[in-house]
């Protein structure tokens, strides 16, 4: 065989080998998941026919249905998805009652809709304790919705603690922005 052909084959083989070893040592290949028991998951149902889906600013290109989903209306109170908390507080303030009521009304009328409520904290303190504090915030919103008739099957309250701050940096402004629970459809 010609030298250059040999060299090309050797090179190709070596590159192939190195690629394999990179995948083995690197976590770019997905790790095998073996769930030992049924895992409760929140699934998001596909949009209604004619409903282009959720998300602010999506073009409401309704075809079959003539009524728009109020979740997509940026002017609707349902567009408000964040509830802010005072320092060391885990009580839903009065000013957010209308927001809670609006989402409760929507969810009780749309049994197919499910939400995840994400609690957050500011950056100060330990990760695990802040995870639990953030949970108190999402739980407060969940309970408020439950009291207005939203069933547990349509909600899950979880916490992101201080791990996913919306406002980075330190100082009262950033901290206040992160003391927050978000309703996510």
């Amino acid at each position: 065989m010609q030298f250059s052909k040999q060299a090309a084959i050797v090179t190709a083989l070596l590159l192939l080998l190195s690629a394999c070893s990179t995948v083995k040592l690197d976590e770019s290949a997905p790790v095998e998941d073996r769930t030992g028991k049924p895992v409760p998951q929140i699934t998001t149902l596909p949009p209604y026919p004619g409903d282009p889906g959720l998300g602010a600013g999506s073009n409401a290109n309704t075809t079959a249905s003539s009524s728009k989903d109020p979740l997509d209306d940026p002017a609707s109170i349902l567009a408000k998805r964040s509830i802010y908390f005072d320092l060391d507080s885990y009580v839903v303030k009065d000013e957010y009652k209308p927001v809670i009521e609006a989402h409760a009304k929507y969810l009780t009328s749309r049994k197919d809709r499910k939400i995840i409520i994400q609690g957050n904290t500011d950056e100060r303190g330990g990760s695990e304790y802040n995870l639990a504090l953030g949970q108190k915030r999402s739980e407060a919103v969940r309970r408020a919705l439950q009291l207005l008739g939203v069933p547990d099957t349509q909600m899950e309250a979880i916490s992101l603690g201080k791990e996913k701050p919306k406002a980075t940096g330190s100082g009262e402004e950033a901290w206040a922005e992160n003391r927050r629970a978000d309703i996510v459809y």
């Binding site: 250059s4 060299a7 090309a8 050797v10 090179t11 070596l14 590159l15 080998l17 190195s18 070893s21 990179t22 040592l25 690197d26 976590e27 770019s28 790790v31 095998e32 998941d33 073996r34 769930t35 030992g36 028991k37 895992v39 409760p40 998951q41 995840i116 100060r124 303190g125 330990g126 990760s127 695990e128 304790y129 995870l131 639990a132 504090l133 949970q135 108190k136 739980e139 309970r143 899950e156 309250a157 979880i158 916490s159 992101l160 603690g161 791990e163 996913k164």
Partner: protein, 423 residues
């Protein structure tokens, strides 16, 4: 044209046989013990055969411990060489280590060494460590462990590994490295946060919390075969895994009933039993070395404090009273000390509590300490801290004197966990 092609081949071949990028953490020593033993480590004969400086690894280990002062020597001395102990004593060394490397067939190496006491003019250790050549670094750490124990009476913890989470450019990596920060590899890469990694008692697995499913879920991952299971994904948040000393169970924090409380599950995720029942947050469980009780964080009294309780709920005891915020309990493997983070005057600082005398001591002057983890010999604490806005790891001796940091360029390192003694 042919020349260029050959050059390309040479480069490609070089890249192919080069090991995955050897990531390492930078070590900076910032504190030493009150009393240091002066010691000389001669270069081992034929150590270049291993591809490493065996004597260099041993010197660095002993230096990092803060208990040794390295008396430099440029000599190469094998363990059978006649050593003039008086002249080494005259150079200021209380002990001298000599050694050699022998290469055997089937890719095995043997590291032979001798530790001599120049003051009592006696040999303290004449040993060899045999291993596959790829474990040369581990063998060097084992020699350092032996030297450390012979001269201090304390079991060495150099032949151990640490796990931590490194973050840069929007990516989170769960990494495992040797205790000196070398040979780091990535166990998990994610675009979502990873927190609370913790070693199984046998050193083969890591339990950790990953947010990849957009909520906190506890996983258990086998480091060798890289398989993992979901240990806990109940409704709500799942976090703060802690292994029982026999490796069969995990204590975890779950919010499935509303408030975060501590539960016990099997390490394979089966069965779930509630352990705590309070009207506050109970989290961050940590098993006592005898496996009969847990230390944990609870804010049932109004603010977070550290408690101890039997697994059956009996004998509840509050342990911390200093200040209004005490979290992240970590008990030493010998059961004598408790490390934790206490907020005083707005500063989050590592403290240790003597569990017998109830004496408390602050160990750092930094302001953003987190996640303390004891070395398996109970003499050092690994924790996360922040310097100039960048997250790094610090190791401090339990008396607060010896100190060094492990950091990575342009990465935030957090959530450390010190692994067990290697088998």
């Amino acid at each position: 044209m042919k020349r260029y092609f050959l050059k390309l081949i040479a480069i490609a071949n070089f890249l192919a046989v080069m090991p995955y990028a050897q990531a390492q953490l930078k070590v900076d020593i910032s504190g030493v013990g009150a009393n240091q033993i002066p010691i000389s480590i001669a270069s081992f004969a034929d150590e270049p055969l291993t591809g490493h400086s065996i004597s260099g690894i041993i010197r660095a280990d002993l230096q990092r411990s803060g208990l040794f002062k390295i008396i430099e020597s440029s000599e190469i001395l094998n363990e059978t060489a006649a050593v003039n102990l008086a002249s080494w004593k005259a150079k200021g060394a209380d002990a001298i280590v000599t050694g050699s490397v022998v290469k055997h067939s089937d890719d095995r190496i043997e590291l032979r060494y001798k530790l001599a006491d120049t003051v009592r003019t006696v040999d303290l250790a004449v040993h060899s460590v045999s291993t596959q050549s790829q474990f040369a670094r581990l063998a060097a750490h084992k020699i350092a462990d032996d030297i450390f124990e012979k001269l201090t009476g304390i079991r060495g913890a150099f032949a151990t590994r640490i796990a931590y989470v490194s973050r840069s450019a929007g990516e989170y990596r769960l990494e495992v490295a040797d205790s000196d920060g070398e040979s780091a590899f990535v166990a998990l890469r994610s675009s979502e946060p990873i927190i609370s990694p913790t070693w199984s008692p046998d050193g083969t697995k890591l339990a950790y919390v990953s947010f990849e499913l957009k909520k906190p879920v506890v996983y258990v991952q086998d480091l060798a075969n890289r398989r993992r299971i979901v240990a806990a994904n109940f409704k709500g948040s799942n976090s703060a895994p802690a292994w029982s000393p026999d490796g069969k169970k995990l204590a975890i924090a779950l919010s499935r009933e509303g408030l975060t409380q501590i539960y016990l599950i099997n390490a394979d995720g089966s069965d779930v039993k509630k352990l705590t029942r309070s009207n506050g947050i109970d989290t961050e469980p940590c098993f006592s070395p005898d496996g009969q009780s847990i230390y944990f964080t609870s804010d049932r009294s109004g603010g977070p404090q550290i408690y101890k309780m039997n697994l059956d709920g009996a004998d509840l005891k509050r342990l911390t009273y200093g200040g209004t915020y005490n979290i992240s309990p970590s008990v030493s493997p010998d059961g004598k000390m408790l490390a934790y983070i206490s907020r005083r005057e707005g500063k989050f600082q590592l403290h240790v509590l003597d569990l017998i005398t109830s004496q408390e001591q602050r160990l750092t002057d930094t302001t953003h300490d987190e996640s303390p983890s004891f070395a398996p010999n109970s003499r050092y604490i690994l924790f996360a801290t922040e310097a100039s806005g960048q997250g790094s790891l610090t190791v401090v001796s339990i008396d607060g004197t010896a100190k060094y940091t492990l950091s990575a360029k342009a990465s935030n390192i957090r959530e450390p966990s010190w692994g067990p003694f290697s088998k």
